[in-house]
């Protein structure tokens, strides 16, 4: 009895579950840094989906796109965290509920 190797659907379902957990965290938490961490979790799950398709459709573009996603995530991390530091300096809080000056 031969066991088949892990089919691609399992990797994609794992990617979907991680993405959903990231969405729940980004919608639920009030701390801006934890929201940022959930965004990184979502980007990571999409990377997993790209690499899965790159392996099972035998293309290199998936790997390259994941590489670009990682580079853009690094750039976004640096600028986003600098914005958080500036926000904390001027408002003494990092709760996303209290940064509501643009709300009507």
């Amino acid at each position: 009895m031969t066991i088949p190797p892990v089919p691609p659907a399992f990797y994609l379902v794992l990617s979907g579950i991680l993405f959903t957990i990231g969405v729940i965290g980004a919608l639920t938490r009030r701390n801006a840094i934890v929201v940022f961490m959930c965004i990184e979790l979502m980007l990571n799950s999409v990377n997993l989906s790209f690499i899965t398709f790159s392996r099972f459709l035998q293309s290199i573009e998936g790997v390259l796109f994941a590489f670009f996603v990682i580079a853009v995530a690094a750039a976004e991390a640096s600028v986003g965290l600098a914005i958080f530091v500036m926000l904390y300096r001027s408002r003494e809080t990092i709760n996303v509920d209290e940064v509501n000056l643009l709300k009507w």
Binding site: L12, N44, R55, V63, V85, I94
Partner: protein, 175 residues
């Protein structure tokens, strides 16, 4: 001999999948943001092992270096710089909004799984077979520096812009 390989592949995949899901669930529920950052590192490392299962060693190493190494370090530094108090106790209105948001996200997951199961994933099979991709860095380098050279240079400009932005944004105003 092949069944040992596939059994090991299944075991590693299931172990890493459950660990990463557990780590991400614990990430979104911890009160202390440092604990959340540590669970984020665990999640990134588990996904890096899954990348190794998918025979992409390049992205696995890049994931550990950049994601788990640099980005989480940045996050931990910023958490230590800011003096964060605990989140306020959620009132009932906030609790309902959390439940509705979570329910919508789980609905989205069901839609994803339905789209995965209903039709088989179609796509044109490319030319990068498993043998060619086994020299992973060479294959990525071949494609990145010949066919995708322009996006590569644009990404380098983007990184320079991000560095300049981060430096300017964190300067203290001398007023």
């Amino acid at each position: 001999m092949e069944t040992v390989g596939t059994i090991l592949q299944w075991l590693i995949f299931l172990g890493m999948a459950f660990t990463s899901i557990l780590a991400s669930v614990l990430l979104i529920t911890r009160k202390n943001p440092i604990h959340s950052a540590l669970f984020l590192v665990l999640n990134f490392l588990c996904v890096a092992v899954i990348y190794l299962l998918l025979y992409s060693q390049f992205i696995a190493i890049i994931q550990v270096l950049v994601y788990a190494g640099a980005i989480v370090m940045l996050i931990v530094f910023v958490i230590m710089l800011l003096d964060l108090e605990e989140e306020l106790r959620s009132r009932l209105k906030l609790f309902y909004s959390k439940v509705i948001g979570s329910a919508l996200a789980v609905l989205f997951l069901f839609g994803l799984i339905y789209g995965l199961v209903a039709t088989s994933p179609t796509g044109k099979t490319g030319g990068y077979t498993a043998e060619k991709m086994s020299a992973n860095v060479k294959a990525v380098g071949e494609a990145l520096f010949t066919q995708y050279l322009f996006p590569f240079e644009v990404v380098s400009i983007l990184l320079v812009a991000a560095i300049i932005g981060a430096v300017i944004l964190s300067k203290k105003k001398l007023s």
